[in-house]
Symmetry: C2
Subunit: 422 residues, 2 copies
């Protein structure tokens, strides 16, 4: 399909952002987590604001129905943060629910209907046993043709990974290095579920073996550790445990306003200058598994709207639900040629100090993946990095332009946003 | 809350509409039903159009997750009607999911992002046993405080009905007369699930008794029949079986374009000139049960945007998930004073030949209530009535202005649209 160049009726800026800690919180519902995120967002608005000026809410959520037995979750979130009677709309596109809520918020402000919109995401996943979470997530596949054939998400992404290996000669180590990098970043992110590096996992494991009088494994580095099937078991070849993002509880929200109002809230707003969304057939119907067509189209649309090229982008948060997904994402976003995403990870180009830092937050892999909230969590990371407020994980260069890339299922949905700090 | 007067960046018109038959279709999935609706919509565009010009889809759906085990339903619908790779977004606000998808479609066109948007709704409910459907719908209540206390929707609406009776002196007969009227309308709607009047139910039942040699009940009219607990059993006092909308499979969609393009598709577009949405606390938290606050606010916003008054509106499709809900709706929309909604139904004011025809389609009560599709079904009825294409149920007056009113749960969400034929 030839993409029409699109533009918004008026510009949109992000002037506040907040998220709960991502992790497993047995005593918290998604209401509690959302209230936590909202509280942090309120404090983040530099010049302050009156929450009563929020005119509408969009909530990304994959399936509070299946995870918590609660449908109609948007007005409940509105109620829990004191925003009744504002319109409250839940948006669902599997793991892209957060990113798609964000694009709806952008569209809503651009439409002239609302000047100030809250966009949030929430998911409470850890109260179900792991196998039921896996089944619940499998509802995001094409259930009649994929889940029915025995596919769950590790298997679906394993198909992508093995196709990528076959075409580009990548190895398991390429995937492992994505995990190593993202855990290094997540170790510097106090909100991350796995707030630790893989080197630390390795050392802790060695110490434990010593403590228990067992033979201490002779791992020289993280890759040694990750290759040891006893500690990093295969889930679906070639995806091992440390190639998979975790099951997570979490919530996040950002505050959007019409561009013309942004400076009354902060001197450093982050403008959303490009937005693109696309759909695709389910994985089993696709001719090529090594690239996500919806991501390429969404990126093209977002870049065209923003008037920027991939090379202009300084950092990106991409959808690394599995390590292979990050490699494919960096190619779909036009940062690297097909097959070169794997090379880039080996050469350290996507590390925090590389030419194209990817997932400085730790990504879904280390920060955690509360599915409906993940897309908003990405926007929050670029918000912090662009404003120089990312603490120990702040990249060592100025970030005037950034991108987020959020995928639903195996790419049935993809949404890409381009951000500019002015 | 003082409502700010809102306006859209540009006008939006409806130029096509189609729906599946509403009913119980054991052999059809929501994909089949949506394709059926889409096919009818394609034929409805007077001057024709190229479906490839559709730029984005919004799909209202309450819970394909719980009903069909299928999440991420929007891109599947897009795929099934050949619209991949267009953005496909599911919108959920319980039984208002269709109406809220419509307002997102309106906002999306108004934003300048898209010139042509498809808005649909779908729900496939009848493949679960009735008690599981009731439980699934109860997920739209505040599960921690309502479903957990034993409430399902008939009970929640029964609370509204008994509060209304206490305040306004209404009787069960007032509610029954809503059902009689809506079944009379539905008897003239070939798409209705119960394409028959209550008089017909009554006659059929009498004939059956005679046939089986049983004593023939001595019902003089429909109200006699409805008062007979053997044939119209109590579900939750004062709501009986014939006060409840049915469990339904169905899909519906409408085609929206920027106002300036409307005349290239039809000489009689239906413009959406007002749109309002609001949220409310769950029912157990409200001070007053006899009115739905979100409906009053959504209506006020839609009227203000349109620059019209309730008295200007010729017909309305309102959310009669239970008969009491229609009475309350006609008051919340400003057609009648509090307490007078019940009088209006007794005096026939809301019949097809009355001063304010309500639910000429048969409403959710008779046409059926596939929850995610119901809000779109309402828009389709006003589309037909305003264009003089409603067949035997066409109202006997010109309809330049109409309203739809779609409620999520017990009013946690309400969305109101105002339509004008120019």
């Amino acid at each position: 399909m030839v993409m029409k160049k699109r533009k918004l009726g008026r510009g949109v800026a992000m002037v506040g952002a907040g998220m709960s800690k991502f992790g497993a919180f047995p005593d918290k519902t998604s209401r509690d987590l959302f209230a936590e995120a909202f509280g942090e967002m309120e404090k983040s608005v530099d010049k302050g604001f009156d929450p009563r000026d929020i005119e509408s809410l969009y909530i990304g959520n994959f399936s509070s129905d299946l995870f918590e037995g609660q449908g109609h979750t948007a007005p409940i979130m509105a109620d829990w943060v004191g925003l009744v009677p504002r319109p409250a709309t839940r948006v669902e596109d599997a793991c892209a629910s957060g990113g798609v809520a964000l694009i709806q918020g952008v569209i809503a402000v651009a439409s002239g209907m609302y000047d100030m919109v809250l966009v949030g995401g929430t998911e409470k996943m850890t109260n179900l046993p792991t196998e039921r979470v896996t089944d619940t997530l499998a509802a995001a596949s094409d259930v009649l043709y994929e889940a029915a054939a025995g596919f769950t998400f590790p298997g679906l992404y394993a198909s992508i990974a093995s196709a990528y290996m076959a075409r580009h000669g990548a190895t398991e180590e390429h995937f492992m290095r994505v995990g190593v990098k993202n855990h290094e970043n997540g170790a510097l992110n106090p909100k991350a579920q796995f707030n630790t590096s893989i080197a630390n996992f390795m050392k802790r494991r060695q110490a434990k073996c010593q403590e228990q009088g067992q033979p201490v494994p002779d791992w020289k580095d993280e890759i040694d550790f990750l290759k040891d099937a006893a500690f990093n078991p295969m889930v679906a070849w070639p995806m091992r445990l440390f190639d998979c993002s975790p099951i997570t509880d979490g919530a996040a929200c950002v505050l959007l306003v019409a561009e013309s109002l942004a400076k009354s809230f902060t001197d450093t707003p982050v403008h959303i200058i490009g937005a693109g969304q696309a759909s695709d057939h389910a994985l089993h119907e696709r001719a090529d598994l090594t690239s996500i067509g919806a991501a390429r189209l969404a990126a093209q649309q977002a870049y065209d709207m923003a008037g920027v090229r991939p090379v202009d982008i300084r950092i990106a948060e991409v959808h690394d639900c599995f390590t292979i997904a990050e490699i494919v994402a960096t190619e779909d976003l036009g940062f690297f040629y097909p097959g070169h995403g794997a090379r880039a990870i080996m050469e350290g180009l996507t590390r925090r100090d590389g030419v194209k830092p990817i997932n400085t937050s730790g990504g879904l892999k280390s920060k955690g993946h509360p599915v409906g909230a993940s897309g908003i969590g990405q926007a929050i990371e670029v918000w912090h990095q662009m404003r120089g407020q990312a603490g120990k994980r702040q990249v060592p260069m100025d970030v005037p332009l950034a991108v987020t890339h959020n995928v639903g299922a195996t790419g049935g949905t993809c949404v890409v946003h381009v951000y500019e700090r002015r």
